[in-house]
């Protein structure tokens, strides 16, 4: 400090006033963020290495909660359910959204576009809890709307929510109905950014439409596709209310997800350390997916 070769330039009054204002402006957000995000996350990580009980006290148990999670066949099945759900929900949400966007990216009257946006985006705005209740009646076995129409066409009814081999598919269908409109909207905006001249030139050369899509459109909007995949994955990994309402995790554990397990363990059986470990695993997957996206998009996207 005393023998510093360069004395730091003293900040001017203006700069100091600016810095002071800056800290003041970020203060509310910083305090709230620290209290309700950073501190709880840190505590959850600490809890995940402990046995904690509000009555019995707590003790450090090392990796025990984690080894329990990765060695219990039940939690592994639930982990697998969640990953499977995430894979299919993300795939269909993003690809159906993209397909719809391509379909709607053409000249049409303004009122028609308004209607389409309304129809596909309304489910996004509604709580999945509300939507799932309506769907539970749609998908009921005997009095359900879906089975009524199947039978009308002479097909057998499907046990949508009560058969362990179908239930997960039903949950995914409801999820795509609910969320694909969000991705459609994002992709419509992205498609409008694809230079028209490029597409027209390729069309003049006689490049078929599907080829134009894969050679020009898709590379051009790839950053948005990456964003969509990551965003969809983060959401899908947390899947909770649609399953709670439609199947309560059943039949058996066929549709139980990590979030349901966290609530069940943390708030039902008061295995708080164990629940914390599960939520840390979930967060680590989210971080890994995001990091992967960053790496991949740096490699591919910008060329």
């Amino acid at each position: 400090m005393t023998a510093a070769p360069f004395r730091k330039r003293r900040p001017s009054d203006l700069e100091r006033a600016q810095a002071r204002a800056g800290y003041l402006f970020v203060l509310p957000t910083s305090v709230l963020y620290l209290t309700f995000v950073l501190a709880p996350v840190t505590l959850t990580i600490i809890l995940s290495f402990s046995f904690y009980d509000p009555m019995l006290g707590s003790r450090w148990v090392g990796l025990e909660n984690y080894t329990r999670f990765f060695s219990d066949p039940r939690s592994l099945q639930i982990f697998w359910n969640t990953l499977r759900f995430t894979f299919f929900a993300v795939t269909f949400n993003v690809s159906v959204g993209l397909l719809l966007a391509v379909a709607l990216n053409r000249a049409m009257p303004a009122w028609l576009l308004y209607f389409f946006r309304l129809a596909f985006f309304l489910p996004v705005m509604i709580a999945i809890a509300f939507a799932a209740i309506v769907w539970s009646y749609f998908l009921a076995n005997d009095l359900g709307v879906a089975n009524y129409y199947l039978r009308l066409f002479g097909l057998p009814g499907v046990p949508w929510l009560t058969d362990s081999s179908v239930a997960m598919t039903s949950i995914i269908i409801v999820d795509v109905w609910k969320n694909t409109g969000f991705f459609m909207i994002i992709f419509i905006a992205a498609l409008q950014g694809v230079p028209k001249s490029l597409m027209e030139a390729a069309a003049m050369d006689g490049t078929p439409a599907w080829r134009r899509f894969f050679r020009i459109t898709l590379p051009y909007i790839s950053p948005v596709v990456f964003f969509a995949i990551v965003y969809a994955s983060i959401g899908a990994l947390q899947v909770y209310e649609s399953i709670v309402i439609l199947t309560q995790g059943g039949p058996g554990d066929a549709t139980r997800s990590l979030s349901i397990l966290i609530v069940e363990q943390g708030f039902g059986s008061f295995q708080i350390g164990y629940a914390a470990a599960i939520s840390v695993v979930m967060t680590l997957i989210i971080l890994a997916i995001t990091a992967l996206q960053q790496i991949l998009s740096r490699k591919w996207v910008h060329q």
Partner: protein, 283 residues
């Protein structure tokens, strides 16, 4: 000549065929809403009638009255939802805009690091924060208090990010001129920046209100007692109380519950869509 004309006509034909298919799909997307709405006006005796009908037979509000008269404190629950959603919306508009102003307009040490730390928050699900928050709330008596849920969300990484994106795309000339004239930063923020931010504020406001209105996971854990519940959680409970045979009542309650969000979307579709594209595209 005629060949080119034909392909053009053919292309228009394909366009309309595609629009037709998407149109049928779009109507399919809306069927659950129509069903729910029509059901809410149907007497219980017709609730399970098949084939299903997607139009209300009459506009008799009997089911709506029955919900309000039932032993579930529906209005109280509705008020809880409104209170939480309004507090969070106003809170986020204030805190996120203030922070975004600092991150986009002011220079101070640690600014970029702070912003990066804030952005990481986008990746923490409620699942990883809820246990300590619940334990803390239990200690200070904030469980079963609607305000407790609102407190958790008075700021958001998404909101700061969205507002900052928007501010970065706005010209700074006016603000700089005001600074030269000796105006303080808070005055510049309030008088010059804020009026320019109206579209972004609307977008963030609507997105936040909707999101908060729809919270389920957090609400179910923190607000378990009936008189402190919010609508999404209560609907599940209502279904148990009234639902045994009385589908129509549940659907009437549901129609009332989705109303604010549907209205918001019908009248402010533009802002919602702009907000979402803004955050998605420029990521």
């Amino acid at each position: 000549m005629s060949g080119a004309f034909q392909t053009q006509a053919a292309r228009r034909g394909i366009d309309w065929a595609i629009i037709l298919v998407v149109g049928i799909l779009a109507i399919g997307m809306l069927l659950p809403f129509l069903w729910l709405f029509s059901m809410s006006f149907r007497p219980v005796s017709q609730a399970y009638q098949l084939p299903p009908s997607f139009l209300p037979p009459s506009l008799d509000p009997a089911n709506y009255k029955a919900v309000l008269a039932s032993r579930v404190p529906f209005l109280r629950i509705y008020a809880n939802s409104l209170l939480i959603a309004c507090l969070v919306t106003v809170g986020q508009l204030v805190t996120c805009t203030l922070a975004a102003f600092a991150f986009s307009r002011l220079r101070f040490r640690g600014r970029d690091t702070l912003f990066f730390i804030l952005l990481i928050g986008l990746m923490f699900p409620a699942q990883v924060t809820i246990l300590p928050i619940y334990l803390g709330y239990a200690r200070v008596g904030l469980t079963n208090q609607p305000v407790g849920l609102a407190l958790m969300y008075l700021t958001s990484s998404f909101g700061v990010f969205l507002m900052r994106q928007f501010m970065l795309s706005q010209p700074k000339a006016l603000e700089e001129a005001a600074l030269m004239d000796g105006a303080g930063y808070f005055k510049i923020f309030r008088r010059i920046s804020l009026p320019q931010l109206r579209p972004a504020l609307s977008a963030l406001g609507i997105i936040t209100f909707t999101q908060t209105w729809n919270y389920y996971f957090q609400a179910r854990i923190l607000l378990g007692r009936e008189e402190s519940m919010t609508l999404p959680v209560a609907m599940d409970v209502l279904r148990g109380y009234l639902g045994s045979g009385n589908l129509s009542l549940v659907m009437a309650a549901m129609s009332m519950s989705v109303l604010p969000v549907v209205l918001l979307f019908l009248f402010a579709q533009k802002f919602v869509i702009e907000g979402i594209t803004m955050s998605g595209i420029k990521n």
